[in-house]
């Protein structure tokens, strides 16, 4: 397979890629030399492992059973992030920073999260965009994305933050909308299929439980643009519990909340906070997530750590 074979040869070559487990692995079958044929600067010059941390659903302003001190538990989560971060330089927050989009709630959250001393990337949850179509949140937390969605590259990995919490339809699920989908398609066009992609958004991009609206109506469309990539990791929040799924080359993962747990799908009359948390057990139901993408090994590790227990 020579470089002069052009586009068709390149496509054939990419089909040979093997994607293993949940790892970001660039293993090629048949002993074909890898990166230069793909023509990716990122692949040609791998820049080493990338580790980052995720927190979600801090709901600053919530004060009811089972947690009347959500600022306190966010502070504990940030302490956990600091103790676990290792080489991680970056933190993502997958939305519901606040309970009611109040500037004071944003202030409190931002102050606590800045305590980690890490570059932090946010996407909005539905609780963050209650006023003025989310302008307050976007101005403060998604400066590179005036509509709450944006992308950036970090050590060769392409990160995409999406907003699927606005213009929701009656009876429906999360929503990206035509404009954002067009942006996503354009953002991905021309990228080498070997580039690892990390997508983060508040509501799960796949349907976890339709009856509670736990999914994204046009999530399939977004995922169709990602199918050609060898490694896609989708990180979500919203459901306040860990769920994982691997489909093709896409690994899905939802994070714990730092504020309160929610019931397993269908296990309660409503998705409201789990209230009958046994005394002293709340911290075992909250936590933070660490993601390590290790190139050349089978282990992309997504590790959830509970605040206690």
């Amino acid at each position: 397979m020579a470089q002069s074979d052009g586009v068709d040869a390149r496509r054939g070559f990419l089909k040979c890629m093997v994607w293993a487990g949940t790892g970001v692995v660039w293993t090629m079958s048949g002993g074909v030399p890898t990166s230069r044929l793909i023509g990716s600067a990122q692949a040609a010059e791998p820049s080493g492992d990338l580790t980052f941390m995720q927190i979600s659903d801090s709901h600053i302003g919530f004060s009811a059973v089972p947690n009347t001190d959500v600022a306190g538990t966010l502070g504990e989560a940030i302490a956990k992030v600091k103790s676990l971060r290792g080489t991680a330089a970056m933190l993502i927050h997958t939305g519901d920073v606040s309970q009611l989009s109040k500037p004071a709630q944003f202030d409190t959250a931002e102050g606590i999260i800045q305590g980690a001393g890490m570059e932090t990337h946010y996407v909005p949850g539905e609780h963050d965009v209650l006023d003025e179509d989310g302008k307050g949140f976007f101005a403060r937390f998604t400066k590179g994305g005036p509509q709450g969605y944006y992308s950036f590259d970090q050590q060769g990995v392409h990160f995409i933050g999406l907003n699927n919490v606005q213009n929701l339809k009656a009876g429906g699920l999360g929503n990206l909308g035509a404009e954002q989908l067009a942006w996503l398609e354009k953002d991905l066009a021309g990228r080498p299929a070997s580039q690892p992609i990390v997508v983060f958004a508040h509501i799960p991009l796949w349907t976890v439980y339709q009856e509670w609206g736990w999914g994204t109506a046009d999530g399939e469309q977004a995922l169709s643009y990602l199918k050609r990539f060898g490694s896609v990791t989708v990180l979500n929040g919203h459901i306040h519990q860990i769920m994982q799924k691997v489909e093709g080359s896409v690994a899905f993962h939802t994070a714990l909340s730092t504020a309160f747990p929610q019931p397993a799908p269908g296990s309660a009359a409503s998705p409201g906070p789990v209230k009958d948390v046994p005394a002293g057990r709340l911290h075992a139901l909250l936590g933070v997530t660490k993601v390590t993408e290790t190139r050349g090994s089978a282990a992309l590790a997504i590790t959830d750590t509970r605040l206690e227990g």
């Binding site: 009811a64 989009s101 209650l130 929701l168 009876g171 429906g172 409503s270 998705p271 409201g272 906070p273």
Partner: protein, 102 residues
Amino acid sequence: MKSMILLGLLLVCPSARADEMIVHIDNFTFTPAQIEVHPGATVRWDNRDDIPHTVTDAAAEKSFHSAALDTGDSFAFTFTAPGIYRYFCALHPHMQGTVIVK
């Protein structure tokens, strides 16, 4: 404007008026999910859940859309024109209800 005046009165006197219907919001549910009222009646939604919700007209041209109602907040709207008004919570769109005005 009329609904705003009514809301002001309700803050002083929270008991329901004769021509006012109350829908409770509990556990991510509007109860009753469907009500019938006469033209000119006011419907009041009381959020008794510990999660904020909205009351949002499902029609493309929205005739009513509450702010986010925190625990204990209410929203009232006076329906003047006959019709079937489907509404939902814009935060949790699986929550739906209907007001029939006839």
